[in-house]
């Protein structure tokens, strides 16, 4: 029986590096599909051994340029928990806002610049500019909003510097926070238009058995703290994660 194979050497428009191998049988059915991750190992877990407690967040931040904030906050909380340090309500709230700013960055990047070109049949967001300038401009505007908030709290948008053990080396002024409040109220329109756009886009049906893991918190929408739960029944304390 003859069969066809499709190989993608390098999957584009995703975070990370991977290749795809697909085997198709003679009657046109996908027999096997393999995603091969060739992103090089960086051994953060190993070389953190012997480093000092106050530089862990600075080092783990470099795991990723898209989600450094998550790695920083997680490292800070791990060290604080190990040392029995509790932070003030202000620090806790500001870290939550900090994490949310990064969620905006990451989600806008994924939705507008990785997913939308596929769903509308373009090879990139750059190629969409001519036909859909309003979509790309809205994406860039929302990305800038998230970036600017990370920048305001963290000093810079990628690998921020102000978040340290027990708090922040500098907190935003009331004036700056008020200005952002205004910008976010204005951006609500863009956010709702984003929801409207995705509701209308046709997303191919694809279901497979897959374990999804997330934070869960009975008191609020879990951002930085909660239990680690999964769709397959995992339910553990943060500190039990290995």
């Amino acid at each position: 029986m003859s069969q066809k194979s499709v190989t993608v050497d390098y999957v584009s428009r995703v975070e990370g590096q991977g290749a795809l191998n697909i085997q198709v049988s003679a009657d046109g059915k996908v027999k096997e599909a393999q995603l091969r991750i060739f992103e090089p190992p960086k051994f953060f877990e190993s070389f953190l051994v012997g480093r000092k407690f106050d530089e862990v967040m600075e080092l783990t931040s470099r795991i990723c340029g898209v989600c450094p904030v998550a790695h920083e906050i997680t490292a800070l909380r791990a060290v604080e928990n190990a040392m029995g340090i509790t932070v003030s309500d202000q620090t806790r709230d500001l870290r939550k806002l900090f994490a949310l700013s990064a969620h905006i960055n990451s989600n806008v990047l994924n939705m507008y610049f990785f997913a939308v070109p596929d769903l509308l049949g373009y090879e990139s967001a750059v190629a969409m500019i001519k036909d859909y300038p309003h979509i790309i401009k809205r994406g860039l505007k929302l990305k800038k909003l998230g970036n600017d908030l990370t920048d305001l709290i963290g000093g810079k948008a990628i690998h921020p510097v102000t978040a340290v053990i027990k708090g922040f080396t500098k907190v935003p002024s009331k004036k700056d926070i008020d200005m952002f409040k205004k910008r976010f109220k204005e951006a609500k329109k863009d956010a709702l238009e984003t929801v409207g756009m995705f509701a209308k886009l046709e997303i191919p049906e694809f279901n497979r058995k897959c374990e999804h893991v997330a934070l869960s918190n009975s008191k609020e929408y879990a951002i930085n703290e909660g239990r680690i739960v999964s769709t397959e029944g995992l339910d553990i304390e943060e500190s039990a994660y290995r």
Binding site: S12, R13, K42, F43, V49, E123, H159, V161
Partner: protein, 226 residues
């Protein structure tokens, strides 16, 4: 930024485009260090079809933070992370100029956006881009910060670290940690001596130099703890 992009054809950018061209290229901006046999081959192929090769960011320039692993035996690093180490092929981590000549270095983790714009604008105008060779202290003085070392006795890496960040950390009450790598001709041993006088233990001094640029000749001696 969109106007600048208009002036260039983007031939290859995996994270952004699906249709990528095989070259040759006028400019290649290379992110990331080299740490696998595949990447050694890749960087040599890119060099061969590139007119101007730019190391973009500390990973490509010095190997940056992942290069801390170079001080561990590879088998110990692997054992800590992977149950089956037979499928891991990882070399010591270096910047790309370990393997190929580099035309321009844009330092920083990450490099400031102004530096990238300076490079692209310079290219369009046919003028040499101004890449700062001096240390962070110059920018710190321009911001009228008081010196963390001389006034507050804090171990700031500013005097040996390349400028470009606008002295961000000292301005937000943090010591410079050196994330732009060494400036041109830094006096690392003198700063290490200053840290010793401040009361920093030898281990801490070694860690400071073995962080963003421990692989460089400029920081090598201090990174080895000698």
């Amino acid at each position: 930024m969109l106007h600048i992009l208009d002036a260039f054809d983007i031939s290859y950018w995996m994270m952004v485009k699906s249709h990528n061209l095989k070259g040759p290229y006028d400019i290649s901006l290379i992110e990331g260090s080299v740490s696998t046999p595949r990447e050694i081959q890749e960087i040599k192929e890119i060099r061969a079809k590139t007119k101007m090769l730019v190391a973009l960011g500390d990973c490509a320039v010095t190997g940056c933070i992942p290069s801390i692993k170079n001080w561990f035996p590879q088998r110990e690093l692997e054992k800590e992370v992977y149950p089956d180490t037979s499928v891991i092929f990882s070399t010591k981590i270096y910047g790309i100029d370990e393997y190929v000549p580099v035309d321009i270095y844009l330092k920083g983790c990450p490099p400031h956006r102004n530096m990238i714009l300076e490079l692209l604008k310079g290219y369009l105008l046919g003028v040499r881009p101004y890449i700062r060779p001096h240390c962070v202290c110059v920018e710190c003085k321009l911001r009228e910060n008081s010196c963390l070392i001389t006034i507050k006795n804090r171990p700031c890496m500013g005097p040996v670290t390349n400028a470009g960040c606008g002295a961000l950390c000292p301005t937000v009450n943090r010591d410079c940690e050196g994330c732009y790598g060494p400036m041109s001709s830094p006096n690392a041993s003198s700063l290490a001596e200053t840290f010793r006088k401040i009361g920093l233990p030898d281990d801490d001094i070694m860690r400071k130099f073995r962080k963003y640029a421990g692989t460089t000749p400029d920081f090598h001696k201090e990174a080895e703890g000698e």
